[in-house]
């Protein structure tokens, strides 16, 4: 009878170690609130939460002890490659960078202009061409955003 082996995703262990570091950081910050451990003060509950996070992140790491990486991944370098392949696909990277640039552009230029450029660029990129229909969809989207947020909801736009 073959024993069922649980698998970890590429990068999962590293991520869980980062969570442990985050827990330690939060615990450290929580201790700094009162400068020590007190039962009823501004820092007591954050310390408690920090301890819970520390304990649960240790439990998560402990749960990895019987888990193995996927069968086709033989060593750490291959796992790293698989991680990059899975999560840094070109369209994910391009979209993320474009989203960050879009946020920066909102501050530098106007909201409508940067939104129009972002939407048009992303529609064309994610739909692999189809320029005319992408531009039409962008125009419709901008019109809908204007009608909805400026005329109906009357919210402040960036």
């Amino acid at each position: 009878m073959s024993k069922h082996i649980e698998r970890v995703q590429p990068g999962e262990k590293i991520f869980d170690w980062l969570l442990l570091l985050l827990s330690i950081g939060i615990l450290f910050e929580a201790f700094r609130i009162d400068g020590g451990l007190k039962l009823n003060s501004a820092g007591s509950f954050p310390v408690g939460l920090g301890l819970v996070m520390l304990a649960s992140s240790l439990a998560i790491l402990f749960s990895h002890r019987y888990k193995r990486r996927a069968e086709h991944l033989h060593h750490a370098a291959e796992e790293f490659q698989a991680f990059i392949r899975d999560h840094f696909k070109p369209y994910i990277v391009v979209f993320s960078v474009a989203a960050i640039l879009y946020l920066a552009a909102i501050v530098w230029f106007s909201f409508y202009l940067s939104t129009a450029v972002f939407l048009a660029a992303m529609f064309i990129f994610l739909r692999r061409g189809k320029i005319i229909s992408s531009l039409i969809i962008t125009a419709l989207a901008i019109g809908a955003i204007y009608a909805l947020f400026t005329l109906v909801f009357r919210v402040y736009l960036p």
Binding site: E29, A42, P46, L49, Y91, L119, L126, F153, L157
Partner: protein, 500 residues
């Protein structure tokens, strides 16, 4: 009494409230149905657009979206085997096989009727129990609130995600985010890392939009290549004898839905799982084997997930504790509008309660109308490709995060939490527990400190008080049981019982 009745009927008689509820239900059906969009995402974004509105208008739209969205997920589950919402996962088990047999229309019709029955049942239970529970909750001591919040967070940790440890981590992370800023009692900065920017705390609307909007948009980029499947649907109104045949099962499933929905931190997804399991155990001769197109497998989860909506409102309106992620977001909306969700809501602003009850009932009527019509347009709209949807979600998130305080910092927080949420999602963490933690964290802190003060800051006395008062004893026992049931001890005890 007459006041309560007028509040109850307010949404039915005011044309603008009527229109907003209808719009909400219609929008909710599509939001719930389109994979990649979620009700929680929509309601989170809506808070920032509606915070300047009259509270009744804002609530009417949110209630409509909530009711429509819980149902909407079932349509794509039946037609495409893609549950539009987590509460529709079990619907796909028998709904999709029915569509493959050419009975998609009948399945959609039946799921609509059963959702409405569940929704009405949930509303009736809300109206019948919440006032009494609210009176009872006025007797609760701070330690009882502390225990209820701990229990709720523990339940959501154990019922969601890959493991209890991950659930607890997510809840604690959320609670930590909720505590950032000045301490409300001593004005000491907490977890601010010396930054002045963080003294005012992190806007939970930005956190919600980041976790449910941006994170989801980034995650959906992985499914960009999936091509929507085209479906044909025929007549969808089911015959009366079919409805009557499944009525007893739908009543039982409604009860399960309301009870599970009322447990803090659970919701429609867990309610539908419980109801499906109940149907499998209790129906001896299903129309077909479960998993192969049994109508019973469609009726039970669809009734339960909509009944859970009314159930989720019970702890929210009486204790100020969210029943699920959507009610957690709605609590945020009530607070922004200057209301105080919890036992005082029924005393200070009873009209909100009766308005919500009337509005939920009205939303279910609209659900019946929209659920049984417009199916042809619907099947076209859900085919919107993700390459169009994802950039639009990002723009909506930016507008939503900015408009709440007109502050770009909130937009940057939203993006930061979106990226964190993406990685958490990739590695099996759920977003719901984080949001519940954000909402319940400050409340837990407050009730813990009040409870400690009431026993003179004596740790031993505090622990003793958790077991010496009848209500606290019950809550402590349930909390310990829930905790132990998620440890290896449960298996050991069960094995001992089996041996004996």
């Amino acid at each position: 009494m007459s006041d309560s009745l007028s509040y109850l009927l307010m949404a039915w008689l005011d044309p603008s409230l009527l229109g907003l509820t209808a719009l909400g239900v219609l929008g909710g059906i599509y939001i719930g149905a389109i994979p990649g969009l979620s009700v929680t995402m929509a309601v989170s974004i809506l808070i920032s657009f509606t915070f300047s509105w009259d509270i009744n208008n804002a609530l009417a739209l949110m209630v409509g979206i909530y009711v429509g969205g819980v149902y909407g997920g079932s349509r794509t589950a039946i037609l495409l085997n893609i549950p539009g919402a987590p509460s529709a996962v079990t619907t796909a088990f028998d709904g999709y096989p029915l569509a493959q047999r050419g009975e998609a229309g009948k399945a959609i019709g039946l799921s609509t009727i059963m959702s409405v029955i569940g929704g009405i049942m949930g509303t009736v239970v809300l109206a019948g129990t919440a006032p009494y529970l609210s009176d009872l909750s006025l007797q609760f001591a701070p330690r009882d609130y502390f225990l209820i919040a701990v229990l709720g967070l523990l339940l959501v940790s154990s019922l969601s995600g890959k493991s209890l440890a991950r659930g607890i981590f997510a809840v604690a992370l959320g609670a930590t985010i909720g505590l950032v800023g000045m301490d409300p009692v001593t004005a000491q900065p907490r977890l601010t890392m010396g930054s002045m920017e963080l003294m005012g705390g992190i806007s939970y609307v930005a956190v919600m939009i980041g976790l449910f909007g941006v994170a989801e948009a980034l995650y959906q980029l992985h499914n960009l290549a999936k091509v929507p499947v085209k479906q044909n649907v025929n007549k969808i109104v089911p015959p009366l004898n079919m409805i009557l045949k499944f009525l007893p099962l739908s009543m039982r499933a409604s009860l399960i839905g309301v009870i599970v929905g009322a447990l803090p931190g659970t919701g429609g997804d867990i309610a539908s799982l419980f109801a499906y399991d109940h149907a499998k155990r209790s129906v001896k001769n299903p129309s077909r084997p479960f998993g192969e197109g049994a109508y019973e497998g469609l009726v039970a989860p669809e009734t339960a997930n909509n009944a859970a909506v009314g159930g989720a409102y019970v702890p929210m309106l009486t204790l100020g504790m969210p029943g699920d992620a959507v009610t957690a977001v709605i609590i945020g909306a009530l607070v922004i509008h200057g209301l105080n969700p919890g036992p005082m809501l029924m005393i200070e602003t009873p009209y909100i309660f009766w308005f919500t009850v009337g509005n939920l009932a009205l939303a279910n009527i609209f659900l019946l109308i929209f659920g049984l019509t417009g199916i042809k347009i619907f099947s076209k709209i859900v085919e919107v490709p993700k390459s169009i949807l994802i950039p639009l979600i990002v723009v909506l998130c930016v507008v939503g995060a900015y408009s709440i305080n007109s502050n770009m910092m909130d937009v940057y927080w939203m993006l930061g939490f979106g990226i964190l949420g993406y990685w958490l999602k990739v590695f099996g963490f759920q977003m719901g527990p984080i949001i519940l933690g954000v909402i319940l964290g400050p409340m837990l802190d407050e009730s813990y400190r009040q409870a400690m003060s009431s026993v003179g800051d004596q740790g031993g006395q505090f622990l003793l008080s958790l077991f010496t008062n009848p209500l606290s004893l019950i809550l402590s026992s349930v909390t310990i049981l829930v905790l132990l049931s998620n440890t290896p001890l449960k298996g050991w005890v069960l094995a001992r019982f089996k041996r004996q």
